[in-house]
Amino acid sequence: MLGAYLPIIVLVIVAALFGLVSVVMSSIIGQKKPSPVKLQPYECGCEPVGSARERFSIKFYLIAMLFILFDIECVFLYPWAVLYKRLGLFGLAEMGLFIVILFVGYIYVWKKGALEWE
């Protein structure tokens, strides 16, 4: 138990230290000549117009919601897939029903045009 998980913690620490040390070192060593123009948002040399904190398309929000729902479906599939051979035909039937019900949802989403990016 411990033997298998301890190395992950060590690897996380090594990776975090590597990232942190190199970023901090470079910000200490690197030159610093800030100027108001340099610290403006980059817009290809034009004067920045307005703020970037704009509202954006609801599409992204919809994609994220659908992702959660299908991700949960996916999570249900993992234990089922592992046990599939041991569950036999019964397993096929129960997951068949599960997938069919969700496929109805998928077709609904498709037909309503929620997957279109016009």
Partner: protein, 169 residues
């Protein structure tokens, strides 16, 4: 105190600290990040309790999917950093509730007696059979009906998501 208890104490402290940061951060994105940190601590607890599948699901679903949606919502609604405004009207009721809940927790912890009796599935069984197999076995045989109802719940949620987001149906 052995090392495992010490480790638990450290992770629990981080969990509580990041939980407090969720409600005290001025910037909503930082609050969301603190919540992700809390989820990681919870995942660590699951691993310590010999429930690696739950830990993985905790990270995949909560940290990897639901929090992404929350961050999207924060960005979508263009929530700004709160400007020094103090919310004081809920403090009194909130503190009373918190103290009551704390008393309840202590009361039940005191009342319950740990008999040392073990169920059929302990750490050794989990180690030998595998946590995924055990969860799957329970879910696809004994709790088949709740599992199938979940699919209908998910279907309703899918329809709800589309209706929320699309203007014309």
């Amino acid at each position: 105190m052995d090392i495992q208890t010490l480790f638990f104490a450290v992770v629990a402290a981080v969990a509580i600290l990041s939980g407090i940061l969720v409600i005290t951060c001025r910037n909503p994105i930082n609050s969301a990040l603190s919540l992700v940190m809390t989820f990681f601590c919870l995942a660590t607890f699951y691993v310590m309790l010999d429930a690696p599948f739950m830990a993985a699901i905790q990270v995949i679903v909560y940290a990897g999917a639901i929090m992404v949606l929350i961050i999207f919502v924060i960005m979508l609604l263009n929530v700004r950093v709160e400007s020094g405004k103090k919310y004081t009207h809920g403090v009194l009721i909130g503190s009373i509730m918190a103290v009551l809940l704390l008393f309840e927790a202590f009361y039940f912890l005191n009342r319950s007696s740990l008999t040392g009796a073990r169920g059929m599935i302990d750490a050794n069984v989990v180690q030998n059979v595998g946590h995924v197999e055990l969860i799957g076995r329970a879910m696809y045989t004994d709790f088949l009906l709740p599992f199938e109802i979940t699919s209908i719940l998910l279907l309703v949620a899918i329809i709800g998501a589309v209706i929320l987001a699309k203007k014309k149906i």
